[in-house]
């Protein structure tokens, strides 16, 4: 890994980044900061501007306004230097169909100055991909694996992956997760877009949510979980009653005989104290439901 810009705190930094197509703003004054050494999830509904933002970072699109810096470099002006240090997987990855997987990776390796043969071999084994077949004969999942290998093979400082788990089976997804964890363990950074909330929750340290081209959330997973709702079910002890005011954070309380259900937002300490006070014989507190939170973000203003 290059030592250049090791001291740089943000590997991706955008300021008022805007991309207009006529009157439509695909990306609207986006302010995004990605710290080094994180797995950073980039979420948003379809058409929110995720892919456009990632393509600007890779120098494929020229910003209409604002600035984007990747590894301290201007994403448009210095795009060649950016591409040398970044691994990129497009959302809809397509390859020259007549080449074999091996020939395609050889070409990418040659274009990057060589030296990745051993890593290609390691990744080929990890992803269990036959590189001797022509790409036209690959399944969609195999093509995705090939795209991932070409993004990872030169051990880039930053990986930008647009929906990387598309078409991958669950086992390969786990392999990819391991690889991404190894990347960040090595001090490198992963920025990826996804629609799979479970994946984001288990993999990411940090999440940004974009809607209509604007950043609407930028937070750690822990902070989001603290704000997410938990589903709560409980059974009152015989003779117990709901005396006193329920703690703040409890919502949607509904009683059916001696059983109750509600949602809870925040630290669970006050909730447990309240249960002790009113006397319950059984309690189930679900994990924070990020899906609800994300759905709210996706829907607001839609």
């Amino acid at each position: 890994m290059s030592d250049v810009n090791q001291g740089l705190m943000y590997v991706v930094e955008t300021e008022k980044l805007t991309k207009r197509y006529g009157a439509h703003r695909a990306v609207n004054e986006l302010a995004l900061r990605v710290e080094r050494g994180l797995i950073f999830g980039f979420l948003g509904p379809n058409g929110a501007g995720k892919t456009t933002a990632l393509r600007i970072l890779m120098g494929l699109l020229r910003p209409t306004g604002g600035a984007a810096r990747v590894l301290g470099l201007d994403s448009w002006r210095d795009s060649t230097a950016v591409c040398a240090r970044v691994g990129y997987l497009p959302g809809d990855v397509r390859f020259p169909q007549h080449l074999t997987g091996a020939k395609f990776l050889d070409f990418c390796n040659a274009m990057r100055g060589g030296g990745a043969t051993a890593e290609i071999q390691r990744l080929r084994e990890r992803f269990d991909l036959n590189l001797n077949r022509r790409i036209r004969d690959y399944s969609r999942g195999m093509k995705q694996k090939l795209g991932l290998i070409q993004a990872l093979m030169h051990r880039p400082e930053l990986l930008i992956l647009d929906e990387p788990t598309t078409a991958l089976d669950p086992l390969v997804q786990l392999t990819l997760y391991d690889e991404l964890r190894a990347v960040v363990a090595d001090g490198r950074t992963v920025l990826f877009s996804s629609h799979t909330l479970n994946e984001v929750e288990t993999l990411c340290n940090h999440v940004a949510i974009i809607r209509a081209g604007r950043l609407i959330e930028d937070s750690t997973i822990e902070a989001l979980q603290a704000r997410a709702l938990r589903r709560v079910e409980f059974r009152l002890k015989a003779g117990a009653s709901m005396n006193g005011r329920p703690p703040e954070g409890l919502g949607g309380l509904a009683m059916h005989g001696g059983s109750g259900s509600a949602t809870w937002q925040g630290e669970i300490g006050p909730l447990l104290e309240w249960f002790v006070r009113i006397g319950v014989s059984d309690v189930t507190i679900g994990a924070p439901d990020l899906e609800d939170l994300f759905t709210t973000y996706y829907r607001e203003g839609a």
């Binding site: 892919t51 393509r55 890779m58 120098g59 494929l60 699109l61 020229r62 795009s79 060649t80 230097a81 591409c83 040398a84 970044v86 990129y88 497009p90 959302g91 809809d92 990855v93 397509r94 390859f95 020259p96 007549h98 070409f107 990418c108 040659a110 274009m111 990057r112 100055g113 795209g147 070409q150």
Partner: protein
Amino acid sequence: MSAALFKRTFRNYLLLNAGASALLFAFVILFMFASNSIPLEESRQWLKLEWVRRLINAMIGGDVADALTPTGVSSFVFTHPFTWVLIVSYLLTTSTGVLSAEMDRGTMDLLATLPISRKRLYVSVSAVVLVMGLPIVWSAWLGVFVGARLVGVAEHANMSRLAMVVVNLYAAYVCMAGFALAVSGSSERRGVALVWCFLIFFYSFILNLLAAFWPAAQEISFTGFLYYYAPLPMVLNGEWPTKNLLVLVGVGMLTWGVGALRFCRRDIHVT
């Protein structure tokens, strides 16, 4: 220039190039046999028809009456519609295939995110298109060389003067390639690039043809690239058409340069 990209692009079109060159070579040999089998008197009879004479004059850039020598007749092959259709088809396939087709297929996403500047990318694929034009145009010359020997007119065929025609043909190829690469580099869709290239080439061919019959078209015939391609005077006089070569190469480089600027500054969209 990127050697790796040059090699990959070269390999992609090697088979097509070899096929097109072989086809032109075979056609020229057949043409040599065919033209040699027509009695001279019969040819003269045909040329008495004014429209035939004008048509051929427009194609070869001189008076066909002066051209009924083995070298002159051989030069017809460099203006024959089959030769042009083959060269233009080949050029359109390759020049639109290396840029707009990469965008059309979506493979440009990976290519443009490898550490190579857009300028180097454009130069590398352009170099392939230019280099691969050489076997095509020289295959016609080689066809005359071999054909003349097979039909027994080798001693009368002036191959060095026909080589001058090849240079003029290649200059026309450079002109067309410059335009085609510029259009290709500016288009997201290969179909759009093909249509634009076809229109501009078609314009030149039609204008050249009309100019033979219609004075008004003759007035503007200089706007078509075929105006600067005249094999017969070279064959008859052995003089280099310096002005024509400069115009063809100059226009080719100019349009190519505009294409380079456009390609380097444009967005590459998801197609």
